[in-house]
C-alpha cells in the first residue's frame, strides 16, 4: 500500500493542480451559480478533462480507457476539490465507470465505456430515497413486465441526475426495504418514458436531481449485474465513491486551510498579524494535524482499492470519516478566522463551508462510517 506517490502519479497530480487552478477556480463555480447554468458545470471543460484521460481513468484499456486506477483519479479529484470545481468526475468518471466496468456485461461495457471515456456520455447513480445515505433502504420497485421490467419509485439526491445520458437505478426486485438482498441495478436512458427528472438547487451550487419513475419499461438487457444481487455489485462502487469523494474533500480542506493560514498572516488587527495570537496559532496547528491524518487515510484507501486489498471497505470508511472531520473543522474555523469578511458571499471561504456539508451527506456521513467501521472491525 503506497502512502507516497510514485513519480507518474505525482505528475498527474501536478497536471491536475495546474488545470483546476487555471481553468476552474472557485470563481468558475460562482459564475455557474450566478448564471443559473442549466448544466451546473462546463461541458467544454469536461471534454478537456476527458482529453487528459481523466474521464477514462477507471475504464479498461480495451474500452478506450487509461485504466489508471483509483490513486490516480483520486489525485485529480483532490485537485478539483481544492477549487471546488463542478464536473462529472464523481458521477461519471468514478461511479459510472466503476459500476459499468465492475458489474457490466460485455455488451454493456462496449456500448457505454468508450463514449464515457471520451467524455461524451454522462452517467448518474440513482440510489438514495431518504434523507440519509442508506444503500439497502430501497423501496422503488422493478416488477417483471413483458420480457423485462417495469420501474416505479422516487429517487433523491441523484448527482448529475438531471443531465445524465444514462442512469443507474437501484430498484427492488424482491425483499423489503432495508434488506440487502433483493436489490437490482438497472441502466435507464435519461430520456426513458415515464421518467421525470427535476433538478434541485443545492446549497453548494452543485448538481442534484429528483427522479420520479412512473412505469418505466425496460428490457431484460437493462439489468446491470445480478438480479437481486445489486447490493453486492454496488459495494465496491460505493467504496470507490467514498474514497474518491474523500479525496475531493481533502482537497477542499487543504485549500481552505491554506487560505486561512494566509489570511492569519495578512490580516492585521491591534497592529499585528492576527496569526501572531497564540489561541489562533494553536487552533491552526490542530487543523494541520487533521489534514495530515486525513491525507494518510485517503491515500491508504485509494491504494487499497487499486490493490484490491481485503480491508478496502474499512479504509474507505476511514477516509470518508476523517476527510469529513477535517473538512468540517477547517471550513468552520476558516469562516470564523476570516471574521466578518468570511461571512460575505463576496468572499470565497464560505463556498468551502457549503461544500463540506454537502459532501459530508453524500455516500454516508461520519456517523454512518463510524458505524460501518465498527461493524467491519467486529464490534
Amino acid at each position: 500500500m503506497a502512502l507516497v506517490l510514485d513519480s507518474e502519479t505525482a505528475l498527474i497530480r501536478d497536471t491536475a493542480l495546474d488545470f483546476f487552478e487555471k481553468r476552474a477556480p472557485v470563481s468558475a463555480l460562482r459564475k455557474l451559480r450566478d448564471d443559473k447554468d442549466a448544466l451546473g458545470f462546463s461541458l467544454p471543460l469536461w471534454r478537456q478533462m476527458a482529453e487528459l484521460g481523466w474521464a477514462g481513468f477507471l475504464v479498461p484499456e480495451a474500452y478506450g480507457g487509461a485504466d489508471y486506477g483509483c490513486l490516480g483519479l483520486g489525485q485529480v479529484m483532490e485537485a478539483a476539490g481544492r477549487t471546488l470545481a463542478a464536473s462529472p468526475l464523481l458521477a461519471t468518471a468514478l461511479i459510472g465507470a466503476s459500476a459499468l466496468a465492475l458489474a457490466g456485461s460485455e455488451q454493456q461495457k462496449a456500448a457505454h465505456l468508450p463514449a464515457l471515456a471520451r467524455g461524451e456520455r454522462l452517467l448518474a447513480l440513482a440510489l438514495e430515497e431518504g434523507a440519509h445515505h442508506a444503500p439497502f433502504a430501497i423501496a422503488a420497485t422493478a416488477r417483471p413486465s413483458g420480457g423485462g421490467f417495469r420501474l416505479d419509485g422516487e429517487k433523491r439526491f441523484v448527482l448529475d441526475g438531471h443531465v445524465a445520458d444514462l442512469l443507474i437505478v437501484a430498484a427492488r426486485t424482491s425483499g423489503a426495504p432495508g434488506e440487502r438482498r433483493g436489490i437490482t441495478l438497472f441502466l435507464v436512458p435519461g430520456d426513458a418514458r415515464g421518467l421525470t427528472r427535476t433538478r434541485t438547487l443545492m446549497v453548494d451550487s452543485r448538481n442534484a436531481a429528483r427522479l420520479s419513475l412512473d412505469g418505466v419499461e425496460l428490457g431484460a438487457d437493462a439489468v446491470l449485474g445480478p438480479v437481486d444481487g445489486g447490493a453486492d455489485a454496488l459495494d465496491p462502487v460505493l467504496d470507490r465513491a467514498r474514497a474518491g469523494l474523500a479525496a475531493e474533500m481533502l482537497g477542499g480542506a487543504a485549500a481552505a486551510f491554506e487560505r486561512t493560514v494566509q489570511y492569519l498572516k495578512d490580516r492585521k488587527q491591534f497592529g499585528v498579524p492576527i496569526g501572531s495570537f497564540q489561541a489562533l496559532k494553536h487552533r491552526a496547528a490542530a487543523m494541520f494535524c487533521e489534514i495530515e491524518l486525513a491525507r494518510s487515510a485517503v491515500l491508504a484507501a485509494l491504494s487499497a482499492l487499486d490493490a484490491k486489498s481485503s480491508d478496502t471497505g474499512a479504509l474507505a470508511s476511514l477516509a470518508k470519516a476523517k476527510a469529513g472531520d477535517a473538512f468540517f473543522l477547517i471550513s468552520n474555523e476558516g469562516v470564523q478566522m476570516h471574521g466578518g469578511i468570511g461571512m460575505t458571499d463576496e468572499h470565497e471561504i464560505g463556498f468551502f463551508l457549503k461544500r463540506a456539508r454537502a459532501a459530508e451527506a453524500a455516500f454516508g456521513d461520519g456517523a454512518f462510517h463510524r458505524d460501518r467501521y465498527a461493524s467491519l472491525m467486529g464490534y
Binding site: A131, H132, T200, R210, Q269, Q336, G340, M343, R357, A367
Partner: protein
C-alpha cells in the same frame, strides 16, 4: 407589595382592553415594527398598537416620562413584561434606538440631545442604525479610521463603515469617529449622531453566505455634522463604545432563544428525519448528542436567569462576554445538529424539492456562523473573560 399588585391588575386590564387581538398572535418577521420616517405597517393594528403603547410611554417603560418613557420602576417593568407575555402581546416597537442609543443618551447625552432624540425613538418616528465597525477595524474596533474634523460649527466627516444593520432603512446613524488622529487609539475617538438624509451618505447592502442580509456598508463622504451632535464630550467616545458593546453582547447572546410558534424541536425533527423507536429518537448516538445540547442549553438559560436575579436588573458587566460567547456557540451547535438530522434535506438552496422549513433551517444554519463574529468575536469575548473576570495578565 400591595402597590405592585394594584399595578399588575391595572396593567392587565389596560392590556386586555387595548391590545388588538391580532397583536396577540405570534409575530411574523415581516410584521415586526421598527419605526422610522419610512415606516410601513403591513398590519394596520400594528400602528394602532404602537400608538397606544407609545402614548403610555410603554415602548420604553423605564425611561423617564419627560422623554416619552413610562417612568416605571424595574419591578413594574417586569410586571408589564409578564403581563404582556401572559396575553401573548407583541412587542409594539423594536429598534436600536431603544436598545442601544437610548441608554447611552440617558447616561451621557446633554439635556438638548435627550429632548431632541429620545421622544422620537419612543414613538418610533426615527429609526437609528449603528456605525461602529470598519473594514480595517473589526475585532480591533478602536483601530477605526472614519475621521471627523471640526470646521467652525460642524464636523466634516469622511469614512467607511461596515456591518451597519438596516442602514438602508435607517434615518440616523450613531457613529464612532476619530477626532484626534494623534492621540493613543482609544483616546481619539468620539461618539457622533448623524442624520443620514444627506447626499454624502450612501449605503450598500451586504450579501451573506446565507443570502440577503440586513447588513450594509455605509460610505460617508464630506458630510457636515453640527458640533451639537457630539455625545459625551470630545475624544470620550470609547467609554460609550464599551458600554454599548456590553448591551449588544447581551442582545446577541440570546440569539438562539427566539422561539417561533411553528418551530419544531431538535428531538421532533430527529424523530421525523431519522426515525423513532419506542417513542425515542431511534439513532442512539444522535439522541445522545441532542441530549447533550439540550442540557447545555437549559443550563445556559438557567445561568441567564441566575445572572438576572443576581444583578436585579443592573447593567450587564464583563460576564456578558460569557453569555455572548456561550450563547452563540450553542446556537451554532444547534444548527449543526439540525443539519445532521435533516441530512440531504438540509442541503437545498431554493426552488422545489425542499420544504419551507427545511430551507429556512439551511439558511439559518449559515446565518448562525456569523453569531460568533458579530458584536465581538468569540475570541474577543474569551479575551474579555480572561482579563476582566479572571484577572489573567496581558
Amino acid at each position: 407589595m400591595a402597590e405592585l399588585d394594584a399595578f399588575r391588575a391595572e396593567t392587565r386590564a389596560w392590556l386586555e382592553a387595548n391590545c388588538p387581538p391580532s397583536m396577540r398572535t405570534p409575530m411574523p418577521d415581516d410584521e415586526i415594527v421598527w419605526g422610522g420616517r419610512r415606516a410601513r405597517f403591513k398590519n394596520p393594528d400594528s400602528k394602532l398598537w404602537l400608538e397606544r403603547m407609545a402614548a403610555r410611554g410603554w415602548t420604553v417603560p423605564t425611561w423617564p416620562k419627560r422623554y416619552g418613557g413610562g417612568g416605571l420602576a424595574p419591578e413594574e417593568a417586569r410586571i408589564l413584561e409578564e403581563e404582556m407575555r401572559r396575553l401573548n402581546c407583541r412587542s409594539p416597537l423594536q429598534s436600536f434606538g431603544i436598545w442601544m442609543l437610548g441608554p447611552v443618551l440617558l447616561e451621557y447625552g446633554s439635556e438638548a440631545q435627550k429632548a431632541a432624540h429620545l421622544p422620537a425613538i419612543a414613538r418610533g418616528e426615527i429609526r437609528w442604525c449603528q456605525g461602529y465597525s470598519e473594514p480595517e477595524a473589526g475585532s480591533d474596533l478602536a483601530g477605526l479610521r472614519t475621521r471627523a474634523v471640526p470646521q467652525g460649527e460642524h464636523f466634516l466627516v469622511n469614512g467607511h463603515k461596515i456591518w451597519t444593520s438596516y442602514a438602508d432603512l435607517a434615518d440616523w446613524i450613531f457613529c464612532l469617529v476619530r477626532t484626534d488622529p494623534l492621540a493613543k487609539k482609544h483616546e481619539g475617538i468620539s461618539f457622533l449622531l448623524i442624520d443620514m438624509d444627506d447626499p454624502g451618505i450612501r449605503t450598500r447592502p451586504i450579501r451573506l453566505i446565507s443570502g440577503a442580509s440586513p447588513f450594509c456598508e455605509t460610505f460617508i463622504e464630506n458630510v457636515r455634522v453640527p458640533l451639537d451632535n457630539l455625545v459625551g464630550g470630545l475624544n470620550n467616545g470609547w467609554t460609550i463604545a464599551k458600554k454599548l458593546l456590553e448591551h449588544e453582547r447581551k442582545m446577541i447572546a440570546s440569539i438562539g432563544e427566539r422561539q417561533r410558534g411553528a418551530e419544531r424541536s431538535l428531538a421532533q425533527l430527529a424523530k421525523t428525519y431519522c426515525g423513532a423507536r419506542d417513542g425515542k429518537v431511534a439513532d442512539a448516538v444522535l439522541r445522545d448528542q441532542i441530549a447533550r445540547h439540550e442540557i447545555d442549553q437549559r443550563a445556559f438559560r438557567l445561568t441567564q436567569r441566575r445572572a438576572a436575579e443576581e444583578a436585579k436588573g443592573g447593567a450587564p458587566g464583563p460576564a456578558s462576554a460569557m453569555f455572548k460567547y456561550y450563547g452563540t456557540e450553542l446556537n451554532k451547535r444547534k444548527f449543526e445538529l439540525l443539519l445532521q438530522c435533516l441530512g440531504t434535506q438540509a442541503l437545498g438552496w431554493e426552488g422545489d424539492g425542499f420544504a419551507a422549513e427545511e430551507k429556512r433551517i439551511t439558511r439559518e444554519w449559515l446565518r448562525s456562523k456569523a453569531n460568533s463574529i458579530e458584536g465581538g468575536t468569540s475570541e474577543i469575548q474569551l479575551n474579555v473573560i480572561a482579563k476582566r473576570v479572571l484577572g489573567l495578565p496581558d
